[in-house]
Amino acid sequence: MGSMKKMQALLMDSIFEVFEKMFFVFLEPCTGAMGHDLAVSIRFCGSTNGRIDAYLSESLAAFMAQNMLGLNPEEVTDNTREDCAREAVNMIAGNFLNKLDARQVFNLTLPVCEKKPGRFPQDNDAALCLMFDAEERSLGIRLSGEILER
């Protein structure tokens, strides 16, 4: 398996594992233009450096919060939505890097979440971009940086 394909497979595994185990959300890979409301980013450095960005619809973030915390829709606040989105990206990054090489220590920054409506950037030359759908709730994940040169 090529390095990029292997990385894509590992990243997909991590995304599925985090969403299924922690949020009880079952994602389907998809293609096409996709809108988002929240953008979350985390950087990592170690034997290689990089960044993971996640782009989510607010409906997905709310669904994650409801499932993880057992809340009713009206109980989900902006803060809880953003907290869940940050934690998801933190877990995806840690899980992916551990799958990539468990012998290496990577330092992760604290994830940052912004309300940033827009379209998922699909600049595939500079990044590895993956898109998912969960019952019409969207998620885009973008891996970029030196790590792609491995």
Binding site: N79, N95, L110
Partner: protein, 143 residues
């Protein structure tokens, strides 16, 4: 016998999930304290005794490894068992946490059963009636 638990994580959502799991695990939990980082945790520990600490690593101000160091320097607090629950899953990070006094390690994402199992191992109680077996099912948590 009931236990006081301290959960240290900068994510309020994660603290809520862990608290729920501990509550459903069958332990008689007396008090559950929460802190957003190691500094807040040390401040709480100045006034409260806890039987077990569950801590993240990647946190602002005082992270989980620094928190372990601070606990180890305190003759009383070093006796409290600490379970790390973290995304930082490298072998070296685990060794570092154990070297600084951690008694257990769970990688995020986790299943509720993993936390229940490590809690039983670390606190040292089992099927001897010291916890409420019927609070959580044997096969898994109703979560």
């Amino acid at each position: 016998m009931s236990f006081n638990v301290l959960i240290v994580d900068d994510s309020g959502a994660m603290r809520a999930v862990i608290k729920k799991i501990v509550g459903l695990s069958g332990f008689r939990m007396d008090q559950c304290l929460e802190a957003g980082n190691g500094r807040e945790a040390m401040a709480l520990l100045a006034d409260h005794w806890v039987d077990v600490i569950i801590s993240d690593i990647n946190m602002p101000e005082v992270n989980g490894l620094e928190f372990l160091e601070q606990l180890a320097r305190n003759e009383t607090l070093r006796e409290i068992p600490v379970i790390m629950i973290t995304t930082e899953g490298s072998e070296q990070m685990m060794q570092e946490a154990f070297a600084r006094g951690a008694k257990g390690f769970v990688k995020k994402p986790f299943l509720p059963e993993e936390i229940k199992k490590i809690l039983y191992q670390v606190i040292g109680v089992g099927d001897d009636g010291q916890y409420e077996e019927d609070a959580g099912s044997a096969d898994g948590l109703d979560f």
